[in-house]
Symmetry: C2
Subunit: 340 residues, 2 copies
DNA sequence: TTGAAAGCGCTAACAA
DNA sequence: TTGTTAGCGCTTTCAA
């Protein structure tokens, strides 16, 4: 049997309002006696306030939502941990959805989460239907976009400087003597991390007087095997590169696979830098040089931003668009460390 | 401005009950005319029913909760994906919490989730306070335990056969000529996957007439560096093993680290098998032989079980305790594949 | 075929 | 210091 505030009130011989005041900590005016009495009954009955009823009145649920895709990617599970930790420390619960990069699904999730009256939303947007975010803004619904930029709307975002991430990686390759550097990308479409990494790649080349060679820009599909095939093709072409820059951590594993099948040695014959630091990067053969993104911080910052927004503490909040800094973790795969 | 059922009713010149019937699909008795009229207004106003109010009446939220720890471990993110996919396909939302192996925190999460009137809970239990699960059972609160067994209570569980997982791994090592096989474990306490993996290890040895050597059973703490140290110590002791069985995927990376620092070759000098298949296992040097656990299935099964339980479809549900089968993925690190 | 009204469990304004 | 009451947005019984 569910125990409600009325049960507590009855058993303690007080009114519901008194109980309500006490469970909400507004008992400055109550006798210590009543407070103790009520607290005792709450304990005895193991009374748990119904958050639904409370929220219905207060129009505040203390629940936020997060819409992600590819949970299995370590980058995202790390972001999620950051969000979860922050939510807990601020007294919020978290609802999680997986959009799977499907715009339709993303829309359904947003709708469903709004029906549950969530206080706000953190989204890694699919960008398939930009009207979605526009509607949220129009409804004054608090939300934060993460990782991918929405260029033409003035919304809160937490991103990483992807131009810099790519530039630093490519410049490092150039400094250690590589000249024919290939970049591997999933189809950029309008996805800013992909576009920006390509941009950073080009900037670094141009700045160092190296001509951008279109055939070294490899845009590959996400189906199994496509990356391996592209690597093999490229390594056997006249444009064979002396280094590869991979822009995704899963993709890097496939690239390695492709390289190995060609009996090519990393880093002697080919330098390699991957995007995203992971637990396994340093255990690959050779240990992988990576561009590290502050994923956990991205989660904590997005969550804090959202909570400030919800609680009207815009003053405590950083700029509307936060851009985090990536950094290069140098190991052996890029060839800078000559101890092989 | 929030639009409520009253707004719709007013604008459509019908009563709230009529609107309610229509949004819930109970409009067999309504004129097609009224239905269309109301639907049109709902569209125009972009009306979204308030799930809080609805749930307050119906005492059903269509939200379930999951309490995990170590989200960053691929095993768990894969489980989570299974749960999420299943929830979506059955029309449930998912609240996620991280217990961080902290019994106190676990209790707070359960309490908080119950306050939110969740329909049920999936838990990877810390087992720090068994009364917690007892109370859930006493309250007839639907919940499923995952991965770790609760031995002395009759509850719903989805687990993997860890005795078998370990046995298969060890038997494979024995068959390929290893005799001095070490096992690395985090402190087992009452955690069934750890206890069972140790049990499977012993069973396999005994069955093959190999004496269990206590100094080859390495129980190591979870602090950074402890595993590496233990590996180094063991490899330089008189009891130096000819194979190592790692019982955790993170631990395996540390073991590899320790091995490398000793200039020992895997698998020539030392065979190695790790627990849990991961995206990176096949890319390690040498490619890692692993015991694969059906993690995604564990998630889907746990979620389905819970939903059946919530919806009173116990008949469609498998046994109260489901045990899944692990399988060995043979690569080079164990030494069976002699192509080195 | 539709509507009126009670009530889910809680909070808060107002009254005592 | 405490209680009474209205109402949050919805569903559902009962009546029309």
């Amino acid at each position: 049997m569910k125990v409600t505030i009325s049960d507590v009130a009855k058993k303690a011989s007080v009114s519901k309002s008194t109980v309500s005041r006490i469970i909400n900590g507004n008992h400055e005016q109550n006798t210590q006696e009543t407070v103790n009495k009520v607290l005792k009954v709450i304990e005895e009955l193991d009374y748990k306030p119904n958050a639904l009823a409370r929220s219905l009145k207060s129009t505040k649920t203390n629940v936020i939502g997060i819409i992600l895709s590819k949970l299995q990617n370590q980058f995202w599970s790390s972001v999620l941990e950051g969000v979860e930790d922050t939510c807990r420390s601020y007294g919020y619960n978290l609802m999680i959805c997986n959009s799977n990069e499907d715009g339709q699904l993303e829309e359904e999730h947003i709708r469903s989460l709004q029906m549950h009256q969530l206080d706000g939303l953190i989204i890694n947007p699919t960008l398939k239907n930009k009207l979605l975010y526009k509607k949220l803004t129009d409804n004054k619904f608090p939300f934060i976009l993460m990782n991918r930029k929405l260029y033409d709307q003035d919304v809160h975002m937490v991103t990483v400087d992807n131009i810099k991430g790519a530039r630093v990686a490519i410049e490092h390759l150039i400094q250690t003597g590589r000249r024919k550097i290939a970049i591997f990308l999933y189809p950029p479409a309008e996805i800013s991390p992909r576009l920006e990494r390509l941009e950073g790649y080009k900037q670094a080349l141009i700045k160092n007087g190296i001509k951008v060679n279109q055939s070294l820009i490899q845009i590959v599909g996400e189906e199994a095997g496509e990356v391996e095939e592209a690597v093999k093709r490229l390594l056997n072409s006249p444009d064979r590169p002396d280094a590869i820059f991979s822009t995704n951590n899963m993709m890097t594993l496939s690239i390695l696979e492709g390289i190995k099948s060609q009996q090519i040695m990393v880093p002697q014959d080919l330098g390699l830098i991957g995007y995203d630091e992971t637990v396994w990067a340093k255990h690959l053969n050779p240990p992988l040089t990576t561009v590290n993104q502050p994923s956990y911080e991205m989660g904590t910052i997005a969550a804090k931003k959202l909570i400030y927004l919800i609680e009207g503490k815009e003053d405590q909040m950083a700029e509307k668009v936060v851009s985090l800094e990536p950094n290069l973790i140098i190991r052996k795969s890029c060839g800078a460390d000559k101890s092989y």
